[in-house]
Every structure is written in structure tokens, then in C-alpha cells.
């Protein structure tokens, strides 16, 4: 009996490994996205996943998603597994740097799979090979706009920001946010806290509560799932918060006044949908405000709008100035 079960199980295992190879070949490449955290952050990773789902729906591509749950030991294996079975591998999260770049002893994953195309989302890595394209986002530009809104709307002249980690990418958001707020109100005080955790909403809530208690009336959450706690704190204190990466207003339209949108999904979709033209192998491509992948979103019209129409118009003007280069937003990257 045991032998039969073992036999069946191993057969299932073999078949499931072979399944992608057996399936009919669709028109485009097969795509695997590998996310460093878990889906359901309603922010960064979910945005990437939306891009994948759209590829599947519109173009009929075979796609999959692998979640690493912030477990660094899984990064390399997940990329290798994806590269073995799919034509395009998208590493979503700056955390994949080591696995992609490799080191003196072991080359990066793209070197081992020269036939596979790799996209590295949210970090700039080049010199690995022609099959790796890095996409970085000018989150500092979008954050400049949300900082401007916060600076204009703060009644206490004190605003805050909760970062998921004291790292270059997160600090790039914060640098833009601070600059925008200062541009709106030169006397504004900006508090910042890092939770050192992207997956624990309680920590985000505590960090935000401490800031609201200290007199901040608007807090920008740049912390993935930890940011959910920021919104809860805002609701508890009847204060405002700003969402990140996706248009997060729907989570709590009464407290989230706007979101800094970094449209990972759209950039991913457009690159893969037109591989020949848009896949820039061996390069670092920066999705800045001019590309339309970075901006501010205010939810849908049926939601209560805290940001006045005049302020929205001012933000539009600022966005134009950033695109034209009239305003140069400070950055912690490059």
C-alpha cells in the first residue's frame, strides 16, 4: 500500500514539474514573477501581481508568481526555479540584489541562465549581462508631490513618515517627501520612524501613534503591509495618512487623503507585452514622472475627498515642473 502511495506521489511530482513543458506554447513568453515578500500588501507586490494578471488576461501568457515571504534564504532558489521553467523572470524587490549580482565564488542567477530574460524591479543593477534589465522608480518625485500636499494641509505644521527600513530605496521616498513638504511650508517639522519590518502592522501602528501623539497630523506610510497599521492609527486618532505604491485610498477613504503611486504593474506589463522594443537588456531604466508610472492618486470620485481641487491643480503644475526639469527632487539613489 505504502509503495503504491509513494509511487503515485512521485508520479504527481514528476508530472507537476513537467507540466509547463507539456502545455501548449502560447504566443508570447511565459512569465514568472518572484516577489520578496508576500502578496496581499495591497501596495507594492500586489501592483506587480496585477501587471502579471493583466498579461495573462490580455495576451494569454502563461504566468506564475512565487512568494519568498521576506525569507532571504529563498531568494536564489526561487529565481532559479523560475528561470528553469519560464522565459521571463521578474524579481520584484530590491532585496534580490545579492542573488542577481552574485559574488566572486558564484555568479548571479542571470549568468547561469543566459537564455532567460530577467527584470529586476526597484533596484539598479547592471554589468551582469544582456539578459538583465533593472527598473528603478523615481519614487522621490512622486513623494515630493505627496509631501507638498501634506505640507499644505498640515494644521500643526508637523508631519510624519513611517519607513519600513532604513535603506536607500525607502530613504528616496523620504527625501522627496521632505523636500516637497519644505517647499510647501518652509517651517514644517518632519518626524520619521523606521519599523525595520514590512510585514508587521502592529509596529506600524505604534510608530504612527507615537507621531500623532507628538503633534503630527499627517503621516506617510512607506512600509508595505506594516503601513496598514499606520492607517489604523490614523483612524483611531482622527488624523490623516498617505498611502504608498498602489492607490490605497479604498482601504480607509476617511483617513487616507491620497497615495503616492508607483505603478510597478503597468511598467511590468508594458515591458513584457512589447519585449523587443521595451526590454532594455543590460541597462538600468528609470521610470520617472515623465513615463506616467509615478504620480499621486486620490481614489475614486465616490470617496470623500480631503484634498481640495485647488491643491490638486497645484500638484498638477508641480508635476509638470518636475517633468520639465524645472524642479529637481533630491534623491538618495545614484
Amino acid at each position: 500500500m505504502k509503495k503504491i502511495i509513494a509511487l503515485i506521489l512521485s508520479l504527481v511530482l514528476c508530472l507537476s514539474v513537467m507540466a509547463p513543458a507539456l502545455a501548449d506554447q502560447p504566443a508570447g513568453p511565459s512569465v514568472a514573477i518572484v516577489v520578496a515578500g508576500t502578496l496581499g500588501d495591497r501596495s507594492f507586490y500586489d501592483s506587480a501581481n496585477e501587471g502579471r494578471l493583466k498579461l495573462e488576461a490580455d495576451l494569454g501568457l502563461t504566468t506564475t508568481v512565487i512568494e519568498c515571504a521576506e525569507d532571504a534564504s529563498k531568494f536564489e532558489n526561487a529565481l532559479v526555479t523560475a528561470a528553469e521553467n519560464y522565459d521571463v523572470v521578474v524579481a520584484v524587490g530590491w532585496q534580490f540584489w545579492d542573488a542577481l549580482a552574485g559574488n566572486a565564488a558564484t555568479p548571479g542567477v542571470p549568468v547561469d541562465f543566459p537564455e532567460t530574460k530577467f527584470m529586476f524591479i526597484d533596484n539598479g543593477l547592471d554589468g551582469i549581462g544582456d539578459n538583465l534589465m533593472s527598473v528603478i522608480y523615481a519614487q522621490n518625485q512622486g513623494s515630493y508631490l505627496t509631501g507638498y500636499i501634506a505640507g499644505k494641509m498640515s494644521k500643526t505644521s508637523k508631519i510624519g513618515v513611517v519607513g519600513g527600513q532604513d535603506s536607500d530605496t525607502i530613504n528616496d521616498f523620504i527625501a522627496g517627501y521632505e523636500a516637497g513638504a519644505k517647499y510647501a511650508n518652509a517651517d514644517i517639522a518632519i518626524e520619521k520612524r523606521y519599523t525595520e519590518d514590512f510585514e508587521d502592522p502592529s509596529k506600524g501602528k505604534e510608530a504612527a501613534l507615537a507621531m500623532y501623539d507628538a503633534g503630527c497630523d499627517i503621516v506617510f506610510a512607506v512600509a508595505g503591509k506594516t503601513g496598514e497599521g499606520v492607517f489604523e492609527a490614523a483612524a483611531e486618532k482622527n488624523a490623516y495618512a498617505i498611502g504608498v505604491d498602489s492607490d490605497q485610498k479604498y482601504i480607509n477613504p476617511d483617513v487616507i487623503i491620497c497615495s503616492m503611486v508607483k505603478d510597478v504593474g503597468k511598467s511590468l506589463y508594458n515591458t513584457i507585452a512589447n519585449m523587443d522594443e521595451n526590454f532594455k537588456g543590460g541597462q538600468i531604466w528609470c521610470a520617472d514622472m515623465a513615463t506616467g508610472y509615478i504620480g499621486v492618486a486620490y481614489g475614486t470620485e465616490d470617496m470623500p475627498q480631503q484634498v481640495s481641487d485647488e491643491l490638486k491643480a497645484e500638484v498638477e503644475v508641480l508635476a509638470q515642473k518636475i517633468v520639465s526639469g524645472e524642479i529637481v527632487v533630491p534623491s538618495t539613489l545614484q
Binding site: 532604513d166 510585514e199 496598514e228
Partner: protein, 308 residues
Amino acid sequence: MTELSTIFNIGLLQNTLRTATPVVLCALGCLMTDHVGMTNIGVEGMMLIGAFSAVMGSWVCSSWWMGLVFAITIGLLLGLFYGVFVIKFKSDEFIIGVALNTFAMGLTTFLLRTLTGQSGTFHAPEGNLSTLPRLSADWLNSIPILGDLLNNNTLLVYVSWILVLVCWLLIYHTPLGFWLRASGEHPQSLRSAGRSPEKMQYLASLICGMLSALAGAHLALGYLSTFSENMSNSRGYIAFACVIFGRANPPKVFLAALLFGFIDALGMRLQSVGISSALTSIFPYIGTVLMMVLVVWRTERRKKKLAQ
């Protein structure tokens, strides 16, 4: 001086209390099993499953108390599960504990995705989740600091304080408590007194499951109002450390949990005076290690004294 007042204020104490409460509830469960001689590190998983069942109960029945009923029921089942494996099948308690934690992580993630179709964080599709009520008494408001601290907490915060007292009375001042402790310290003598140590162990295991699940319920419906994957985030292990540090004595364990909460709250606030967040985020763990060193040092000293 203004910097000091931004760190040491009422918010710090409130934060301490909020951070400590899930740990207190979980530690009270954990200390029960400690007294009967079982090292239960599975409390982490029990807490996570408790959080999940509380949210599901509250969501399905749209009432927070059904959430609590769900959490307690599932908690008791988990306690029974743990007990059956450790007491009946004599499996290694450590392995079962670790297995329970890994299982809890996978199970809650899987169920969240299959039952609700959502992943990561649970977002009640139709409006808000029924969460635990906040209690406050007007007369307390007249007292400065204390009023702010004691008022306006969620239900289970107060329940946890009562439970500290109840557990202490139960363990040290009732016959049942003596049997519980005897089953851990000297099961043979308990047996010769006509009591079954196994029954006591089952009882402790059930209480442990229930309280750990309540800790989870507090985390999901009191502290926050959502379920999020792996939301227990090692709080069960901290509770376990508090049990060791407080020598499984409820009031001492309570203080240990408060100390942990304080370190955590302080660490976060120290960022505002320019201490790196990478450093402040490990404060609770440094605290835990220091606690353990202190425990070892104290036991060694006691041993030496006895030897003299």
C-alpha cells in the same frame, strides 16, 4: 530637555501596555504548561491560529464575542492536540511545538486565501470588522496619568490583568494548583496521592491553548482590527522568554512582559534622538538575552548559597 519629553511621556506608557498585553496573555498560558513540566514553544502558532479564528468568527457572525468564542474553542482544540501528542504519544515537546508553529503559519495563510480569496491582510468585504469594545470609567479621568493609562483600553487588556491574579491564585493557593505543580515537579508522588499527573498536564495544555488563542484574538481584534499573515511575529517566543524570566510566577511574568513592552516602546522612540533604527529594532531581543543571562546568574548564585 524637550527631547526627553518627547520620549518619556504618557504615550510611552500606553505603548508599553499595548505591546505587553498579547505577550502577557500568551505567557500566562505558557506558564501553565511550564508548571506541569512541558516546554511549550508552540504558543507562537497557537496565538496565530487564535488571531485567525477570532477574525473569522467576528467576520462570519458580525460580533466580536463570537470571535472570542471561536478563538477560545479553537484554542482548546489546539491545547488538546498538543496534549495528545506530548502526553499520550510522548512525542518530543519541542518538535511538536516547532511543528505547530510552522503548521500555524502555513494553515492560516492557506485558509485566508481559500476562505476569503484575499492574501496578506484580511479586509472585511462588507464594511468593518466587529472589534473588541473599549472600556473607560469617568471617575478615572480625574486622576492624571493613571486615568489616561487605565481608561480606553480594549476589553482583553483588563481581562489579562484579572487573569494574572486568577492564575496566581490558582497555582499557589488552590489544591488544583498544588496538583498542577506536583505533576511537573514530582509526578510519582501525585500519583501515589491518587491523582493523575496526565490529567493535570492535559488541563494545563488546554488552558495554555485557550489563553494563547486569546492573545491572538487581542492582537487581531483589540490591538489591530485585521488579520495579517504571520501577525504574531515572534511574540509567542517573547512570551516564552518572559515565563522563564519570571520563573513561571504570574505576577513576575506580567512584570517581565511589561519590561519587554517598555523596551520595545522605548526603542522606537529613541529613533527621534538619532539612534539608528537597525539598532533600536533589536532592543527587545537584546533585552531578552539580558533577561536570560540574569536568570542563569541568579540560579547559579542560589545554587552556591545552598551549597554553603
